[in-house]
């Protein structure tokens, strides 16, 4: 047995063509109209859930840029989400800052954090990177509980955040205002992400994902782009975290455990790895399916959730993207007839 094996390993994430990463104009407009109109006709609690749908959608999108875009795997997204949430909460409650202004700060801090974390992560790939990010996710709640920071973080108790009112005396409820506020940010970040992946940097990321050595031979600065991907992903997750803190009105260490990171990962798989619009589908899966499972059987909710998840990955191993592709082909056939 030789000490060095020569194996051709397939890329961990299969190549997604650039165009296939987005939606057509028609579909985008229908989605937008739905997102704008639905809250007008439902109860406040459902509006809150829809807000969370957008927020988790953002977090899944961020993971999708990292994994689907640059091919790096992360189980540590919950840590970035926690940092974003705590940044917003601390700035609002201790510094009295306006909630909207805390979000860019949360994004920047998380960008820096992610960028720095990306440095040691450069040496690792595959399961090793998974373990490193996993370590980050398990360490974060413990760090937030530490006595040294208790003055700011509130320790185990966490912090209560006040919910903002609609500005300019608009006659809408707090929940509805927050929903539209979140929607605007989500759309802005979505457009930013789509453009990012279609730009020179996006192509560089995908080249790294498909073949790192070939990418570096073509002159792509592999180290820079990989760490940047971590930074951008963490930044977006941080903004999602900040929004999440405002929407839930509460931050506590145990809300940001590894379970959150695993949920976000499942969201990405269900939505389709590397397909940005799928993020919202994945987010819907991780928000609503556990509730459905609980509704079917209280004692066996975990098993029902597992079975539903198996059903989804058996039927559509490539996630919502596969459904979209099939639908597109059907539409094409209908048009021709």
């Amino acid at each position: 047995m030789s000490a060095v094996q020569e194996v051709v390993t397939p890329a961990a994430i299969e190549a997604v063509p650039k165009r296939a990463m987005t939606l057509g104009y028609g579909t985008s407009l229908i989605m937008l109209a739905l997102l704008l109109l639905v809250p007008l006709f439902v109860k406040n609690f459902i509006i809150f859930q829809l807000t969370m749908l957008l927020i988790y959608g953002l977090a899944v999108l961020a993971l999708n840029i990292l994994t689907g875009g640059s091919g790096q795997f992360s189980l540590g997204q919950s840590a970035f989400y926690a940092v974003g949430a705590y940044t917003s909460a601390i700035l609002m409650e201790h510094a009295g800052m306006n909630y909207a202004l805390t979000l860019p700060v949360a994004g920047l801090i998380c960008f820096g954090f992610g960028f720095l974390f990306g440095q040691p992560a450069l040496r690792l790939s595959g399961v090793y990177l998974a373990l490193a990010t996993f370590a980050l996710a398990t360490a974060m709640p413990q760090l937030l509980k530490l006595g040294y920071f208790e003055h700011w973080t509130g320790g185990v108790q966490g912090l209560v955040v006040t919910k903002p009112d609609a500005p300019f005396g608009l006659p809408i409820s707090q929940d509805m205002w927050l929903y539209y506020f979140t929607l605007v940010i989500t759309i802005a970040i979505y457009i930013f992400s789509v453009n990012l992946l279609q730009s020179r940097s996006g192509r560089a990321l995908m080249a790294i994902r498909d073949n790192e050595i070939a990418a570096s031979a073509m002159g792509v600065d592999v180290a820079l782009y990989k760490t940047l991907a971590f930074g951008v992903s963490a930044g977006i997750t941080g903004i999602a975290g900040g929004l999440g803190a405002i929407a839930v009105q509460f931050v506590a260490p145990d809300a940001y455990t590894i379970t959150l990171a695993i949920s976000l990962f499942l969201g990405m798989v269900v939505g389709g790895v590397g397909w940005l619009p799928g993020s919202i589908v994945g987010s819907a899966f991780i928000i609503f399916v556990p509730n459905i499972a609980e509704g079917i059987s209280k004692g066996l909710s975990g098993a029902v959730f597992g079975v539903l998840l198996f059903l989804v990955i058996f039927l559509v191993p490539h996630g919502a993207r596969q459904v979209a592709i099939v639908a597109q082909q059907l539409m094409g056939k209908l048009k021709r007839n």
């Binding site: 000490a3 060095v4 094996q5 020569e6 194996v7 051709v8 390993t9 961990a12 994430i13 299969e14 994994t67 795997f73 040691p120 040496r123 690792l124 790939s125 399961v127 090793y128 998974a130 373990l131 490193a132 996993f134 370590a135 398990t138 360490a139 413990q142 760090l143 509980k145 073949n211 050595i213 070939a214 695993i262 990962f265 499942l266 990405m268 798989v269 269900v270 790895v273 004692g299 066996l300 909710s301 975990g302 098993a303 029902v304 959730f305 597992g306 079975v307 998840l309 198996f310 990955i313 058996f314 191993p317 490539h318 996630g319």
Partner: protein, 292 residues
């Protein structure tokens, strides 16, 4: 100095648990090339089966062997039913499948055997081992079994035809198929063996951590860490990694001020990552060269 040696002994004792689990993790990694997140839950379920058998009056070793056989069959069944259809799906979809399996097993075990903590017997007794208060005879027995298991696996993989076929199927499936290895069944066999080793790990760990559906949560994390530290391609590495993680964890808890029980895990993990940054394939792993 005495504190230091005592902490190392205690570390070895907990390390034996991690080594057991890490060995099962590496086994399945060799067979299927993924980390199986449901491994700990499979082991927990096996342990519950043996507990149930003992409740029905089967003696310890009888229950042990029946459980081993059932786990082996169960591992193969899971592979055939759930993961063979996913063989062509992307890797990340497979990982989602492991998480689903985790949720199902955990929830079903909770329903059948509920979440109360149960005592689990040990065949080795729990007296001080060689006069030391820190290692009990059970822990010494556990280390012994782990080492025996490691030797058995080494001989199986190095000197039997079927071991060779399994290694071939895992590392170069295409070429293995060309020389007539039934790679699909080799994967199933890998699952079966991993489930059986997991059940041994579970039955040895249960007397220490007590039996309940969530007993493997913490252990599996350390087991993964140990396997990765030792190098996922090396069963010996997994065992050494397990002991090292146990020792790290105890020393960090004792000597670094401000580190209570809560920060032990993050510090152990951080140390492992530091090691990996220097040696990316783990301590005993073979670096894999990729062809462009």
């Amino acid at each position: 100095m005495e504190l230091f040696t005592n902490q190392i002994l205690a570390g070895i004792a907990t390390g034996a648990i991690y080594a057991c689990m890490a060995l099962a993790v590496v086994m399945i990694y060799q067979a299927i090339d993924h980390l199986n997140f449901a491994q700990g839950e499979m082991a927990m379920f096996s342990t519950f089966i043996s507990w149930q058998l003992m409740q029905w009056g089967v003696p310890y070793w009888g229950a042990f062997i029946i459980t081993l056989a059932l786990s082996f069959a169960g591992g193969i069944a899971i592979e055939r039913l759930l993961f063979k259809p996913l063989a062509k799906a992307p890797i990340l979809t497979n990982v989602a499948g492991f998480i689903a399996l985790f949720a199902i097993i955990n929830s079903v075990a909770g329903l059948i055997w509920d979440f109360t903590i149960k005592q689990y017997p040990t065949p080795f007794g729990s007296y001080p081992f060689l006069g030391s208060q820190l290692i009990s005879t059970h822990q010494a027995g556990m280390i012994g079994v782990t080492v025996l298991l490691l030797l058995a696996l080494y001989f199986f993989f190095q000197f039997t035809r079927i071991g060779l076929a399994m290694r071939a199927a895992a590392s170069v499936p295409e070429s293995a198929r060309l020389v007539g290895v039934n790679t699909s069944w080799m994967i199933a066999l890998g699952w079966g063996m991993a489930a059986a080793i997991g059940s041994i790990a579970g039955m040895l760990i249960a007397p220490v951590v007590f039996l309940e559906p969530n007993m493997m949560g913490g252990v599996l994390i350390y087991g993964f860490a140990a396997a990765v530290l030792g190098g996922l391609t090396s069963p010996l590495g997994a065992v050494v990694g397990g002991f090292l993680v146990g020792i790290f964890e105890n020393l960090a808890g004792t000597y670094i001020p401000g580190v209570g029980n809560e920060l032990k895990l993050p510090i152990a993990l951080a140390l492992i990552i530091t090691v990996l940054v220097v040696k990316p394939a783990g301590l005993f792993g073979r670096p894999i060269v990729k062809r462009v």
